[in-house]
């Protein structure tokens, strides 16, 4: 299991999600961008449940999985409530902050452009607290300057920075 594995948008708390999921795979069928994968292995708690590996294919927040879920394990919600995690930008790595080139790739590709990522002074990308952690920016960043932290590990990240 990769350390950045995400639950589908609208899954919320992992325990609640696993209790509600009946492993029918309808969300995976509904996923337009092949971001949702089926967990393999023998662990009866997780095998057959969906996950996202944002390093291979991030979630584009199309929000088709929620309505496909029959049990409500994945709630049908709007993009802004996806709550999968959060992205963190390392300014010491970013092309734009380093002054190498005005890149803006993360801003352009962000499904919640101007909300989750805004441009300070018109060119410096800033990830706001509106970020839901879809992982698109981390996936497209040519400099790998963005780290994605899944929902259940955000508190660790915040603690380590405090």
């Amino acid at each position: 299991m990769s350390s950045t594995q995400l639950l589908p948008p609208g899954a919320g708390d992992k325990k609640r999600f696993l209790q509600n999921c009946i492993h029918c795979g309808k969300c995976v069928e509904a996923c337009r961008f092949d971001a949702l994968k089926i967990t393999e292995g023998l662990n009866p708690m997780t095998a057959g449940t969906p996950y996202i590996d944002p390093e291979k294919a991030p979630c584009f927040l199309c929000m088709h999985c929620g309505p496909a879920c029959p049990t409500g394990a994945i709630s049908a919600i709007e993009q802004k409530d996806a709550d999968m995690g959060a992205a963190f930008l390392d300014k010491n790595q970013c092309f734009t902050y380093l002054g190498a080139v005005i890149c803006r790739t993360c801003f352009e590709k962000c499904p919640m452009r101007n909300t989750a990522i805004v441009l300070e002074n018109g060119y410096l990308p800033v990830i706001t607290d509106q970020c839901v952690g879809c992982g698109v920016c981390a996936y497209v960043c040519p400099r790998h300057a963005i780290t994605l932290i899944p929902r259940e590990r955000i508190h660790e990240k915040v603690r380590s920075e405090a």
């Binding site: 609640r16 209790q19 509600n20 009946i22 029918c24 994968k37 089926i38 292995g41 023998l42 029959p70």
Partner: protein, 268 residues
């Protein structure tokens, strides 16, 4: 060769087994009359759900979405009216178990006449044990139709075989060693639920026996008993909870006195 109802049954089983490839393929052309799988199916917008999966979610969370509640109740209604016909007409593992029984070295054995009771005790112990360890009742993870579904789906979506697939051959080996339909009779938690649903109504679809027409009443085991996949005696006056209404005994009996028939009747 005359077309008997057991041929219709076999065709139905094969059709269901193939539908796991056919449904996603047809959905690929944006034809969405039927979507989903045995765990959550939708036909013309009417939801059908795996009742065991629904129960599992309900007992873990004490809540259930409307779609699944209605779907599970619809599936259970079928069992209430027709008995556990899912096992003999729909379940893809039921097809495998039926075919397994055709092998010459697999014996039809009726080890415990109350297989369902044995199973109920085992399932009860498992659920209480899991609950004591703060685990949800993960019974559907032991459901073979569920694993057939997931195997076909994982194959279709990612081209790999999930680990749970190996439950299918493992159960087949159990069937070969322990006598036909061993898994279905003594392990499957899904059929236990359907058997319980089949006991709800005093009158339902069942195998009926007319003793005056019976010409092999002296024989034991009789031809009808020998044809029953579960080794039951269809001449018993009470519906056996394990009878899946497969109709094999009725077809067999038609070669003798036609004392057995299927129709609505009382339980006793």
């Amino acid at each position: 060769m005359k077309l008997h109802r057991n041929h219709v049954r076999r065709a139905c089983q094969c059709l269901v087994a193939l539908s796991f490839i056919a449904i996603p393929w047809i959905n690929g052309f944006d034809i969405r009359i039927v979507t989903g799988n045995l765990l959550s199916l939708e036909i013309f917008g009417i939801p059908f759900a795996d009742p065991l999966a629904a129960l599992q979610v309900f007992f873990s969370t004490w809540s259930l979405s409307w779609t699944v509640t209605i779907g599970a109740l619809l599936s259970l209604t079928l069992a209430v009216i027709m008995g556990p016909v899912f096992c003999s007409w729909i379940c893809p593992y039921g097809l495998i178990a039926d075919l397994m029984q055709k092998l010459p070295f697999v014996k039809r054995r009726n080890r415990f006449s109350r297989g369902w009771l044995f199973k109920a005790v085992v399932v009860g112990i498992v659920v209480v044990g899991l609950g004591a360890m703060a685990f949800p009742p993960m019974l559907n993870q032991l459901s073979l139709p569920g694993w057939y579904t997931r195997t076909m789906q994982t194959l279709w979506l990612s081209g790999t075989i999930p680990a749970g697939f190996w439950l299918l051959p493992a159960a087949s080996v159990l069937d070969m060693a322990g006598g036909g339909h061993f898994w279905c009779r003594y392990c499957c938690p899904q059929s236990l639920l359907l058997q319980a649903a089949g006991l709800v109504l005093p009158r339902r679809f069942r195998v009926k026996y007319d003793a005056s027409k019976c010409i092999c009443s002296e024989k034991n085991p009789s031809p009808c008993m020998k044809s029953c996949p579960y080794g039951l005696d269809p001449r018993e006056r009470k519906i056996h909870p394990e009878c899946t209404n497969c109709g094999d005994c009725v077809v067999q009996c038609s070669h003798f006195g036609s004392a057995l028939s299927q129709g609505f009747g009382s339980r006793k």
